[in-house]
Symmetry: C2
Subunit: 145 residues, 2 copies
Protein backbone atom coordinates (compact mmCIF):
# COMPACT_ATOMS: atom_id res chain seq x y z
CA UNK A 1 0.00 0.00 0.00
CA UNK A 2 1.30 3.43 -0.92
CA UNK A 3 1.47 6.04 1.87
CA UNK A 4 -0.77 8.44 0.00
CA UNK A 5 -3.52 5.84 0.19
CA UNK A 6 -3.52 6.00 3.99
CA UNK A 7 -5.96 8.55 5.41
CA UNK A 8 -3.82 8.94 8.54
CA UNK A 9 -0.70 9.82 6.52
CA UNK A 10 -2.59 12.28 4.31
CA UNK A 11 -4.20 14.08 7.24
CA UNK A 12 -1.13 14.04 9.50
CA UNK A 13 1.18 15.38 6.81
CA UNK A 14 -1.22 18.03 5.53
CA UNK A 15 -2.06 19.06 9.10
CA UNK A 16 1.63 19.35 9.94
CA UNK A 17 2.30 21.63 6.95
CA UNK A 18 -0.63 23.93 7.76
CA UNK A 19 0.02 23.86 11.53
CA UNK A 20 3.67 24.95 11.15
CA UNK A 21 2.57 27.77 8.86
CA UNK A 22 -0.13 28.90 11.34
CA UNK A 23 2.28 28.72 14.33
CA UNK A 24 4.63 31.10 12.51
CA UNK A 25 1.87 33.56 11.63
CA UNK A 26 0.52 33.62 15.21
CA UNK A 27 3.90 33.72 16.97
CA UNK A 28 4.27 37.55 16.92
CA UNK A 29 1.10 37.59 19.09
CA UNK A 30 2.42 34.87 21.45
CA UNK A 31 -0.69 32.79 20.73
CA UNK A 32 -0.77 29.11 19.62
CA UNK A 33 -3.20 27.59 17.08
CA UNK A 34 -5.10 25.82 19.90
CA UNK A 35 -5.42 29.11 21.81
CA UNK A 36 -6.69 30.76 18.64
CA UNK A 37 -9.31 27.98 18.46
CA UNK A 38 -10.53 28.83 21.97
CA UNK A 39 -10.67 32.56 21.24
CA UNK A 40 -12.56 31.92 18.03
CA UNK A 41 -15.17 29.84 19.89
CA UNK A 42 -15.65 32.62 22.45
CA UNK A 43 -15.86 35.33 19.77
CA UNK A 44 -18.51 33.33 17.87
CA UNK A 45 -20.58 32.01 20.76
CA UNK A 46 -20.01 34.48 23.61
CA UNK A 47 -18.98 33.23 27.07
CA UNK A 48 -18.78 29.44 27.35
CA UNK A 49 -18.03 26.78 29.96
CA UNK A 50 -14.77 24.79 29.60
CA UNK A 51 -16.90 21.75 28.70
CA UNK A 52 -18.61 23.60 25.85
CA UNK A 53 -15.23 24.79 24.54
CA UNK A 54 -13.89 21.21 24.63
CA UNK A 55 -16.91 19.98 22.69
CA UNK A 56 -16.60 22.65 20.01
CA UNK A 57 -12.86 22.04 19.60
CA UNK A 58 -13.08 18.22 19.87
CA UNK A 59 -10.64 18.23 22.82
CA UNK A 60 -10.29 16.09 25.96
CA UNK A 61 -11.19 17.84 29.25
CA UNK A 62 -7.56 17.73 30.47
CA UNK A 63 -6.27 19.34 27.25
CA UNK A 64 -8.88 22.10 27.43
CA UNK A 65 -7.97 22.83 31.03
CA UNK A 66 -4.23 23.08 30.24
CA UNK A 67 -4.87 25.41 27.31
CA UNK A 68 -7.13 27.63 29.45
CA UNK A 69 -4.50 27.78 32.23
CA UNK A 70 -1.86 29.07 29.83
CA UNK A 71 -4.30 31.53 28.25
CA UNK A 72 -5.26 32.95 31.62
CA UNK A 73 -1.57 33.39 32.54
CA UNK A 74 -1.09 35.22 29.25
CA UNK A 75 -4.09 37.50 29.97
CA UNK A 76 -6.14 36.19 27.02
CA UNK A 77 -9.11 34.87 29.01
CA UNK A 78 -10.72 35.14 32.43
CA UNK A 79 -12.56 32.41 34.32
CA UNK A 80 -15.48 33.51 36.47
CA UNK A 81 -18.37 31.85 38.32
CA UNK A 82 -21.57 31.43 36.29
CA UNK A 83 -24.10 33.94 37.68
CA UNK A 84 -26.93 31.39 37.47
CA UNK A 85 -25.06 28.31 38.63
CA UNK A 86 -22.27 28.77 41.17
CA UNK A 87 -20.80 25.33 40.42
CA UNK A 88 -20.14 26.26 36.79
CA UNK A 89 -17.21 28.24 35.41
CA UNK A 90 -17.59 30.69 32.54
CA UNK A 91 -14.71 31.61 30.25
CA UNK A 92 -14.58 35.12 28.79
CA UNK A 93 -12.07 36.84 26.50
CA UNK A 94 -10.00 39.79 27.76
CA UNK A 95 -9.62 43.15 26.02
CA UNK A 96 -6.06 42.16 25.07
CA UNK A 97 -7.44 39.11 23.23
CA UNK A 98 -10.32 41.03 21.63
CA UNK A 99 -7.81 43.42 20.07
CA UNK A 100 -6.36 40.47 18.17
CA UNK A 101 -9.65 39.46 16.56
CA UNK A 102 -9.29 41.40 13.31
CA UNK A 103 -5.60 40.60 12.72
CA UNK A 104 -6.37 36.91 13.36
CA UNK A 105 -9.28 36.90 10.89
CA UNK A 106 -6.91 38.31 8.29
CA UNK A 107 -4.27 35.67 9.08
CA UNK A 108 -6.78 32.82 8.74
CA UNK A 109 -8.22 34.17 5.50
CA UNK A 110 -4.74 34.54 4.05
CA UNK A 111 -3.81 31.02 5.24
CA UNK A 112 -6.93 29.48 3.67
CA UNK A 113 -6.13 31.30 0.46
CA UNK A 114 -2.52 30.14 0.58
CA UNK A 115 -3.34 26.45 0.96
CA UNK A 116 -6.50 26.20 -1.13
CA UNK A 117 -5.39 28.53 -3.89
CA UNK A 118 -5.27 25.72 -6.45
CA UNK A 119 -8.72 24.37 -5.63
CA UNK A 120 -11.95 25.39 -7.35
CA UNK A 121 -14.79 26.66 -5.12
CA UNK A 122 -16.50 23.31 -5.53
CA UNK A 123 -13.34 21.44 -4.49
CA UNK A 124 -12.86 23.71 -1.45
CA UNK A 125 -16.43 23.03 -0.38
CA UNK A 126 -16.02 19.31 -0.78
CA UNK A 127 -12.74 19.30 1.18
CA UNK A 128 -14.39 21.12 4.10
CA UNK A 129 -17.42 18.83 4.01
CA UNK A 130 -15.32 15.64 3.91
CA UNK A 131 -13.21 16.81 6.86
CA UNK A 132 -16.30 17.86 8.84
CA UNK A 133 -17.78 14.40 8.28
CA UNK A 134 -14.67 12.78 9.77
CA UNK A 135 -14.76 15.19 12.74
CA UNK A 136 -18.43 14.47 13.32
CA UNK A 137 -17.87 10.70 13.28
CA UNK A 138 -15.89 11.17 16.48
CA UNK A 139 -18.74 13.08 18.12
CA UNK A 140 -21.19 10.34 17.14
CA UNK A 141 -18.91 7.61 18.50
CA UNK A 142 -18.35 9.45 21.78
CA UNK A 143 -22.06 9.98 22.27
CA UNK A 144 -22.53 6.20 22.02
CA UNK A 145 -20.15 5.59 24.98
CA UNK B 1 -15.38 33.64 11.02
CA UNK B 2 -16.68 30.19 11.90
CA UNK B 3 -14.17 27.54 12.98
CA UNK B 4 -15.17 25.20 10.18
CA UNK B 5 -14.01 27.83 7.71
CA UNK B 6 -10.44 27.60 9.05
CA UNK B 7 -8.28 25.05 7.21
CA UNK B 8 -6.11 24.59 10.32
CA UNK B 9 -9.10 23.70 12.51
CA UNK B 10 -10.53 21.30 9.92
CA UNK B 11 -7.25 19.48 9.41
CA UNK B 12 -6.21 19.43 13.09
CA UNK B 13 -9.55 18.11 14.28
CA UNK B 14 -9.94 15.51 11.53
CA UNK B 15 -6.33 14.42 11.99
CA UNK B 16 -6.83 14.08 15.73
CA UNK B 17 -9.89 11.84 15.28
CA UNK B 18 -8.13 9.57 12.76
CA UNK B 19 -4.84 9.56 14.71
CA UNK B 20 -6.50 8.43 17.98
CA UNK B 21 -8.28 5.66 16.10
CA UNK B 22 -5.03 4.53 14.42
CA UNK B 23 -3.08 4.62 17.73
CA UNK B 24 -5.64 2.25 19.25
CA UNK B 25 -5.54 -0.16 16.32
CA UNK B 26 -1.71 -0.28 16.30
CA UNK B 27 -1.25 -0.44 20.09
CA UNK B 28 -1.47 -4.28 20.34
CA UNK B 29 1.68 -4.33 18.16
CA UNK B 30 3.44 -1.67 20.25
CA UNK B 31 3.89 0.47 17.11
CA UNK B 32 2.94 4.16 16.70
CA UNK B 33 1.43 5.76 13.56
CA UNK B 34 4.77 7.49 12.80
CA UNK B 35 6.62 4.18 13.13
CA UNK B 36 4.08 2.59 10.80
CA UNK B 37 4.86 5.40 8.33
CA UNK B 38 8.57 4.50 8.40
CA UNK B 39 7.88 0.78 7.97
CA UNK B 40 5.55 1.50 5.07
CA UNK B 41 8.25 3.57 3.30
CA UNK B 42 10.76 0.74 3.71
CA UNK B 43 8.29 -1.90 2.53
CA UNK B 44 7.48 0.15 -0.57
CA UNK B 45 10.92 1.44 -1.49
CA UNK B 46 13.36 -1.09 0.02
CA UNK B 47 16.26 0.08 2.22
CA UNK B 48 16.50 3.87 2.57
CA UNK B 49 18.71 6.47 4.22
CA UNK B 50 17.25 8.43 7.19
CA UNK B 51 17.20 11.51 4.92
CA UNK B 52 15.11 9.74 2.28
CA UNK B 53 12.68 8.53 4.98
CA UNK B 54 12.34 12.08 6.32
CA UNK B 55 11.61 13.40 2.84
CA UNK B 56 8.95 10.78 2.14
CA UNK B 57 7.27 11.35 5.52
CA UNK B 58 7.64 15.17 5.46
CA UNK B 59 9.56 15.09 8.78
CA UNK B 60 12.40 17.16 10.23
CA UNK B 61 15.77 15.35 10.52
CA UNK B 62 15.64 15.41 14.34
CA UNK B 63 12.15 13.85 14.39
CA UNK B 64 13.20 11.10 11.97
CA UNK B 65 16.24 10.33 14.08
CA UNK B 66 14.17 10.03 17.31
CA UNK B 67 11.62 7.75 15.63
CA UNK B 68 14.39 5.53 14.23
CA UNK B 69 16.08 5.29 17.66
CA UNK B 70 12.88 4.03 19.27
CA UNK B 71 12.22 1.62 16.39
CA UNK B 72 15.70 0.15 16.67
CA UNK B 73 15.27 -0.35 20.42
CA UNK B 74 11.99 -2.13 19.70
CA UNK B 75 13.68 -4.38 17.11
CA UNK B 76 11.65 -3.00 14.18
CA UNK B 77 14.58 -1.69 12.11
CA UNK B 78 18.34 -1.99 11.81
CA UNK B 79 20.79 0.71 10.78
CA UNK B 80 23.83 -0.39 8.78
CA UNK B 81 26.60 1.26 6.76
CA UNK B 82 25.82 1.75 3.05
CA UNK B 83 27.96 -0.76 1.13
CA UNK B 84 28.82 1.83 -1.55
CA UNK B 85 29.27 4.88 0.67
CA UNK B 86 30.65 4.34 4.15
CA UNK B 87 29.48 7.78 5.30
CA UNK B 88 25.83 6.91 4.65
CA UNK B 89 23.51 4.91 6.88
CA UNK B 90 20.92 2.52 5.47
CA UNK B 91 17.76 1.60 7.35
CA UNK B 92 16.29 -1.90 6.90
CA UNK B 93 13.24 -3.59 8.43
CA UNK B 94 13.65 -6.59 10.77
CA UNK B 95 11.85 -9.91 10.44
CA UNK B 96 9.73 -8.94 13.47
CA UNK B 97 8.53 -5.85 11.57
CA UNK B 98 8.00 -7.69 8.30
CA UNK B 99 5.63 -10.09 10.05
CA UNK B 100 3.38 -7.10 10.80
CA UNK B 101 3.05 -6.03 7.16
CA UNK B 102 -0.15 -7.92 6.32
CA UNK B 103 -1.97 -7.15 9.60
CA UNK B 104 -1.06 -3.46 9.14
CA UNK B 105 -2.34 -3.36 5.55
CA UNK B 106 -5.62 -4.74 6.83
CA UNK B 107 -5.79 -2.16 9.63
CA UNK B 108 -5.18 0.74 7.22
CA UNK B 109 -7.71 -0.54 4.70
CA UNK B 110 -10.30 -0.93 7.44
CA UNK B 111 -9.48 2.56 8.79
CA UNK B 112 -9.82 4.17 5.34
CA UNK B 113 -13.13 2.39 4.92
CA UNK B 114 -14.28 3.51 8.38
CA UNK B 115 -13.59 7.20 7.80
CA UNK B 116 -14.42 7.53 4.12
CA UNK B 117 -17.42 5.25 4.15
CA UNK B 118 -19.83 8.09 3.41
CA UNK B 119 -17.83 9.47 0.49
CA UNK B 120 -18.31 8.51 -3.15
CA UNK B 121 -15.23 7.23 -5.03
CA UNK B 122 -14.99 10.61 -6.73
CA UNK B 123 -15.10 12.43 -3.38
CA UNK B 124 -12.45 10.10 -1.89
CA UNK B 125 -10.18 10.80 -4.86
CA UNK B 126 -10.66 14.53 -4.54
CA UNK B 127 -9.98 14.46 -0.77
CA UNK B 128 -6.69 12.59 -1.33
CA UNK B 129 -5.69 14.91 -4.15
CA UNK B 130 -6.47 18.09 -2.19
CA UNK B 131 -4.47 16.85 0.81
CA UNK B 132 -1.54 15.80 -1.41
CA UNK B 133 -1.50 19.28 -2.94
CA UNK B 134 -1.19 20.85 0.52
CA UNK B 135 1.60 18.40 1.44
CA UNK B 136 3.45 19.14 -1.79
CA UNK B 137 3.24 22.90 -1.22
CA UNK B 138 5.54 22.37 1.74
CA UNK B 139 8.05 20.45 -0.38
CA UNK B 140 8.04 23.20 -2.98
CA UNK B 141 8.53 25.92 -0.34
CA UNK B 142 11.41 24.03 1.29
CA UNK B 143 13.12 23.50 -2.04
CA UNK B 144 13.09 27.28 -2.54
CA UNK B 145 15.10 27.83 0.69
Amino acid sequence: MKLDQCINFLLSSAQNVVFQYFIQKLSPYNVTPAQYGVLNCLWNHGDLTPKQIGELLVLEASSTSGILDRMQKNDLINRSIHPENRRTILVTTTKKADNMRIPFENIVQEMNQHFMNNLTDEEKDLLSKSLMRIIQMNKRENSLD
